[in-house]
């Protein structure tokens, strides 16, 4: 039995090794003095300093953050409103709209990318930051909707009715009762939207214009021509951003839970 348990743990550990290996290597090499990435010679911050003077990479990083933040804010607001609307009201063609919403989640990203590119061209929309933001909003909204909807479904109808009954109108009920209660779904939807946007390569690849330099595109072209070690440094920084966002979202969530279930 004990041997069995050991084997099981080894399996779990090797999966984690597989998952973390490439990231671990990037982080290590970002502190490696040797340019060749093979042998670790000695510890240095050289690449981080070099990164600061690499204006193209810095600009790409800034653009990536701008796109992620803007598309997250817009898709979280629209997604939350939509989830509430779809949950509460019936209208003609609702089923159709509901099935349309799943499409960005299930179809290959490349199809969404080229179809958006095609309509952008059709309507002569200039490719750039705006077109990428619109594309990111397009694939993020469905994730926000499904995330918020799952918390809405768990919400008892009585709670909102009690609010009306106590004299709260629609808006106050939403603001004071519904929204605080679906907040966990809103936060996890927003986290998802942010990370999806930071992660995206395929859709940005098609919807970016010549002037809009984002990090994935920058790295993509660098991989073909030759990567400089300051990319390792930048990757480490991006990793840090995501870890910070994730941890703070987790902390906010657990504080809320703690507050509510204090002494249970």
């Amino acid at each position: 039995m004990k041997k069995n348990k050991l084997r099981r743990n080894i399996f779990i550990i090797s999966v984690f090794v597989f998952l973390y290996l490439p990231i671990f290597i990037l982080v290590i090499y970002s502190f490696n003095a040797s340019k060749m990435n093979i042998v670790f010679t000695h510890f240095t911050f050289k690449w981080y300093k070099e990164l600061l003077s690499n204006t193209t990479l810095i600009e790409a990083f800034r653009n990536t953050i701008i796109i992620a933040v803007t598309s997250t804010v817009i898709s979280t607001i629209l997604g939350t409103i939509s989830a509430v609307g779809l949950n509460k009201y019936d209208f003609k063609g609702k089923n159709f709209i509901n099935s349309l919403i799943y499409i960005p989640i299930v179809i290959p990203e490349i199809v969404l990318g080229i179809s958006l590119l095609s309509v952008y061209t059709l309507f002569h929309l200039e490719l750039g930051i705006t077109s990428i933001i619109i594309a990111h909003i397009t694939f993020s909204i469905p994730y926000v909707i499904t995330s918020v909807r799952s918390t809405l479904n768990a919400l008892s109808k009585d709670i909102e009715e009690a609010s009306y009954d106590l004299g709260a109108n629609k808006w106050n009920t939403f603001r004071y009762v519904t929204l605080p209660l679906i907040m966990p779904g809103v936060i996890s939807g927003a986290t998802l939207a942010f990370t999806l946007s930071m992660d995206d390569v395929v859709i940005s690849y098609f919807t970016a214009g010549p002037g809009s330099n984002t990090l994935p595109l920058n790295i993509y072209s660098m991989i073909k021509t030759g990567i400089t070690p300051d990319v390792n440094a930048l990757s480490t920084l991006m990793l840090l951003v995501v870890v910070i966002v994730l941890t703070s979202s987790a902390v906010i969530q657990s504080r809320r839970i703690q507050k509510r279930e204090l002494l249970r």
Binding site: D158, A162, L166, G167, A168, N172, K259, L263
Partner: protein, 358 residues
């Protein structure tokens, strides 16, 4: 209780598609009254409550509260409050904020609000729990918060939807008494929905029995128990023996009702004619049990015998197909398979209609 009509339902009907939930009900509810809507689940009683609070719109008819036609008024603006079956407390707000919620929405001045909340908390005995969150409270305490949240609004009507049904038996008994006390103390009108006949009988000033979207009977608990209008009500409220009889002889004052070949009962005559086929109700506690033949009694054999501490419950077989439930106080008078005689005072026999009636 006075004679001012506070809530008036005028020919209200509610349909979902072609399903009729409320079928043309009219009902006047008086100021300071404790009125219970009693009926089996799915009879439409909760829907009636929801039409009064405005959470459900009417298909037809009108509702007046305090003389004002509120048929098309938002629940937000109706001067009634509901205690939900699930309590529907806001889990993310403290007890204090829960009770304050309605006052905040009505923009009641802070001083006045604080005073009212304190009074309400005192009334429902929740002092010291102001800063707790609902999930940290027991079922009974949650119930009290829900009540406080309703009464703090100082509206004249409180609607209670199966409010005690999720509590355990002991707590339920306590809350029944407290609720009734509270209602008298505040002079409010309580409209209470339940499927529990005990609850209805203990608390209500009047009971409306609802069945299939209609009011079957509206009366005081005592009258409903003693003189149920239909077999449905007799069966729903308390234990009952309902069976068929045929009138054999009549005099000015009495009539002779035949139960079977061996047994007949003397009952009070109420314009019956010989040959009338009627349905009668005998409550289990109306019988006097005798070992020997007495006049005006039913003969039967004891088939089952259960002693529960206060009373003894018997099942007495009169003939095949007619077994009477009999409750007696004396435990030692008989045993299983004894032949007994059940005397029935004629004034305790209740006629509940003709046989072909449903």
């Amino acid at each position: 209780m006075n004679e001012n009509v506070l809530v008036s339902l005028k020919n209200i009907t509610k349909k979902y598609g072609d399903k009729t939930i409320i079928n043309n009900i009219s009902l006047d509810i008086y100021e300071g009254e404790f009125l219970t809507l009693l009926g089996p689940s799915g009879c439409g009683k909760t829907t009636i409550l929801r039409t009064i609070s405005g959470l459900e719109e009417l298909t037809k008819g009108e509702i007046y509260i305090d003389g004002v036609n509120v048929t098309n008024v938002d629940p937000t603006l109706r001067e009634v409050n509901t205690i939900f079956q699930s309590f529907a407390l806001f889990p993310h707000m403290t007890v204090w904020d829960n009770i304050n919620f309605g006052l905040k929405m009505k923009k009641i001045a802070k001083e006045e609000a604080t005073k009212r909340i304190k009074d309400a908390i005192k009334l429902v005995k929740l002092e010291g729990f102001e800063d707790r969150y609902p999930p940290q409270l027991s079922g009974g305490q949650q119930q009290r918060v829900a009540i406080a949240r309703g009464i703090v609004m100082k509206h004249k009507v409180l609607l209670l939807d199966e409010s005690l049904c999720s509590l355990d038996l002991k707590l339920k008994r306590e809350m029944q008494i407290e609720l009734k006390k509270l209602q008298k103390q505040l002079g409010m009108t309580f409209i209470y929905v339940t499927h529990d006949q005990d609850e209805a009988l203990t608390m209500s000033d009047r009971i409306a029995i609802i069945n299939k979207g209609k009011i079957e009977q509206l009366d005081t608990p005592k009258n409903i128990y003693r003189y149920p209008k239909t077999a449905f009500i007799a069966d729903f409220i308390g234990e009952s023996n309902i069976f068929n009889i045929e009138i054999k002889e009549t005099t000015d004052k009495y009539a002779l009702a035949k139960i079977n070949e061996d047994n007949s009962l003397k009952i009070l005559n109420n314009n019956y004619k010989v040959g009338d086929k009627l349905k009668i109700l005998l409550r289990p506690e109306t019988f006097e049990l005798k070992k020997e033949y007495v006049r005006n009694s039913i003969k039967g054999i004891v088939k089952n015998y259960v002693y529960d501490g206060q009373i003894t419950k018997l099942e007495v077989e009169v003939n095949k197909g007619l077994v009477l439930k009999v409750n007696i106080n004396d435990a030692d008078i008989c045993s299983k398979d004894d032949t007994v005689y059940l005397r029935v005072p004629e004034e305790k026999v209740v006629i509940i209609g003709e046989q072909n009636e449903e």
